[in-house]
Amino acid sequence: MEVRGVAAGRPLGRDGLTRSSVWIWEEIRMHDDDFISTGVTRRTFLAGVGGAVALSVAGTSAQAAAGKEAPQLAALVKDGKLPPLAERLPQNPLVIKPFEKIGTYGGTLRRGLRGSSDHNGILRMVGNQGLVRWNMDFTQVLPNLAEKWEVSADATQFTFHLLKGAKWSDGHPFTADDVVFAIEDVVKNKELYSATPAQISVAGKPVTVEKVDDYTVKFTFAAANALYLENLATPLGQHPTLFAKHYCSKFLPKYNTNLDADVKAAGVSSWTELFRAKCGDIEIPSRWGNVDKPTLDPWIVKEAYSGGATRVLMVRNPYFWQVDTEGNQLPYVDEINFGISQDVESLMLNVISGKVDIQERHISTLANKPTLSQNMQKGDYRLLQLVPSAAQQCQLYLNMTHKDPAMRKMFADKSFRQALSIGINRQEIIDIIYFGQSEGYQTGPRPGHPWHHEKLGRQFTEYDPDKASAMLDKVGFDKKNGSGIRLRPDGQPVFFAVDVIPTLYPDLVDVLELVKAHWAQIGIDMKVNTIERALYYTRGDDNAHDAQVWPGPGGLDPMLDPRDYFAFHPQGSRYAIPWTLWYTSNGQKGEEPPESQKKRMKLFDEARSTADLNKRGAIMKQIFDLAAEDFETIGVCLAVGGFGVIRNNLRNVPEKQPDSWSWPNPGPALPQQFTFTS
């Protein structure tokens, strides 16, 4: 699926658009093999930008007018309750090539949500209408509400040209004023956002957005922000298109002098509360709680997501600004009905009895796979395969900055970590727990990714308990106590606890039980510490853990989450939280990391501001080299893919999709072009 330049009458080819840093992993060849195999190799970023500018935008209104619209909307137009289609669509609407075929209008798409904190389940399906979007393969950033853009050579200025004539769901035009309002008046408002979201804050300063003309906006950053387009395509990049000025300005003191009275009338305690209730934010429930809020989404809220809701109903947006290749206005599907299940098991029951049209969220655990496969006929669905974007299924983080000096010394010893790694029988774990669906792996971009690093990925994955014992003997753990457990130089037995959250990752508990048995054979005593998730986070934040496990990200998106390549993420790089604090606070907080870490931090900052993809790759390789040398984290096996179901009468759905928050599946597969066959 790709965007066509309509007027030019040719597909927007390989060089026509900017390349993302996030490359394809060999297996995500989903649709256009030719496109992927030749198109996604190292290509320069800036050359692409020039091509995008050349895209012509003239003369497609005639084509749009010839297109069709949903029967209900046509009836409304006939009754004079809605302007005709040509007036609702942009002059040059965004053309989407359907995944399989041109669809037919109609139908209600059913999907499930969990009872609590599941607003992102709606976001993933409906709310992905940013300035730019991902392509199907998670490799490239495509035009969306911005039909083209230019990036300055130093990657500090981004100029976006908006779709002319696109409209909010209430018919009000979407213009540069809305984008400027969203960033300058809303996101940069200190009362609403006491800290500016990290994405639009570079070198400690927030972005500046200026209106060039009605349909052109310029974003200026304080320093290079080469990854901005990719970030803009992720959910956290939706701010510029989230707030309609004509509606949301009513809830800002700057535009509404009478706001205090409105706040009182609404019975809330402050204007910021009122603003959030009315206009929402990227990922809070109230984004889907106000039926009056204008949006740019394909479907708009009819029955809101609130504490008492048992379902969320969304109906088509008559002003949606995308059409298919024959000029038919999208979306094809009339409504989306999100049923709210309190319990995941009852959601599963609905899935296998065919009462859900597409679902992967909440049901994609290994334990469910046999049940889902067995009931394919009865439920009349096919399986959807998710390609993990993570690198590692079970990353073990030994706390190298432990508060206890003796433990710290032990974990900081590289040979100790290497010995533990080759003391794990990975094949047994893969066979027993993952049904043979994986391979031994440490960390780093997945095999097939252009940045895949063999040493970082495969070193010390062989099982060799004798060698492990010899290594441990050599580094001073050569004495054992009565029960065969090695003693540390200070005479204490080698013992530590590994924290794991059984409710989130039941498979990791099983993995750890096996690892515990493997390590017992080389004289290491480990406790599988199953704890509640909030406690897990608290222990990590306080640096009070011995060791913790978590799936290791960065398999397909190494630039977006490099937590396992150096101490990057204060809630993720669990082998050295104090080092991450040092990094994120520019040396103000935390603990000073060793040289190799500091070098990697510097290199990553450099990579982040490097626009040229080849150069960026070269810098990242240096980071991978250093990370492989230092061997900080121990991995078990490559992340295993999840799965979901698609009802057989729902078409235009790719059956293989990346599974990621940056590519918020299934949103970038464009649910607006999903269609039902009778």
């Binding site: 609590s116 006491s194 804050s201 956290l236 959030r276 048992t310 897990y536």
Partner: protein
């Protein structure tokens, strides 16, 4: 009598304060707070919160203040304005969230209560009077089954059979076309067609246990001399049963009213979650899991108030029904 009621009502005030404080402390006891739980929940779907947002959320919700300050603010809002606070998760007033679900909760609780009593009382009496008859054995067998099958398991099995074998719409209390429709005859009928399953499931175990209690109570009373006297006076067997031993055997039922009221909210949590019922119980569990403090606190407070009121009511009723009991 009036003096007793006033005195009891007066004592409720300090007990409620004590309980509300205890509830607040208990809800805060688990490690972390709403924000950590929220981040962890999102992380389970591989979703992240902007790193600058977490601290900002704590500040907005006042979670960075000492617990005592948070408590006093909350209780002050309740006492002065009747304001139970805002649910962190939904950003909606807590009282609205709870009331929204109370009507259906009441319907379900009353329906299953009536079903339970209507079945359990006659069967219990029958079992006691016809002790060791075939009917008694049959009911005893049923009651032991009813007591030993966990109701959530029964719910899951029935749902599976209904959904997979018969293709019926299970879970929830309404079909999708009526879910948000205004009340009408059609909607009432739709509710009734959905209500029988949860009512049956909820009634099974409580019916079973009530039958046992009723049977045992009656067996205690039946051999007593006053029964023999009444029979000697020539009362018909039915009148005799209803007039004397049944009244006394009912005492334990009346004392259970004390926990019937709080059960409206907290009873049958698991069944309500499995069956996806729009009642208060799932919301209560959700608020506890998410550490949504004010919502959970309001629930606990409500449950306590209902327990206190319930025990008052059952005390008064006991005094009315059983002349041996004095309210002193």
């Amino acid at each position: 009598m009036l003096k007793f009621v006033v005195k009891r009502l007066f004592w409720m005030i300090p007990s409620l304060f004590a309980v509300s404080f205890l509830a607040f402390v208990l809800i805060q006891l688990p490690p972390g707070d709403f924000v950590t739980t929220y981040i962890a929940t999102l992380a389970s779907s591989n979703e992240v919160v902007d790193q600058n947002t977490a601290a900002q959320l704590r500040e907005r919700f006042g979670l960075d203040q000492p617990m005592l300050v948070q408590y006093l603010k909350w209780i002050w809002g309740i006492v002065t304005r009747g304001d139970f606070g805002l649910s962190f998760e939904w950003q909606q007033p807590v009282s609205g969230l709870i009331w929204e679900r109370m009507a259906l909760t009441l319907v379900l609780a009353l329906a299953s209560l009536i079903a339970t009593w209507a079945l359990a009382l006659p069967i219990g009496v029958y079992s006691a009077v016809k002790k060791y008859s075939i009917g008694d054995y049959a009911f005893t067998a049923f009651t032991f089954f009813g007591l030993s099958i966990p109701s959530f398991l029964l719910a899951l099995v029935l749902m599976y059979v209904a959904a997979v074998e018969f293709g019926q719409d299970v879970g929830g209390l309404f079909s999708s076309q009526y879910e948000t429709a205004p009340w009408s005859i059609g909607k009432m009928y739709d509710l009734l067609t959905h209500l029988w399953l949860p009512v049956a499931i909820l009634a099974v175990s409580s019916t079973a246990s009530l039958i046992r209690v009723m049977r045992a109570n009656m067996l205690d009373e039946l051999p007593k001399p006053y029964v023999t006297t009444a029979r000697a006076k020539g009362l018909s067997e039915f009148r005799l049963l209803v007039k004397y031993p049944l009244r006394i055997a009912l005492n334990p039922f009346i004392s259970t009213i004390a926990w019937l009221l709080p059960n409206l909210i907290s009873g049958s949590v698991v069944v309500a979650i499995v069956l996806n019922l729009p009642t208060a119980a799932p919301l209560l569990l959700q608020s506890l899991m998410a550490q949504d403090m004010y919502l959970a606190g309001a629930f606990v407070l409500l449950i306590c108030a209902l327990t206190l009121i319930g025990s008052l009511i059952s005390d008064i009723l006991l005094a009315l029904v059983d002349p041996r009991i004095r309210l002193e």
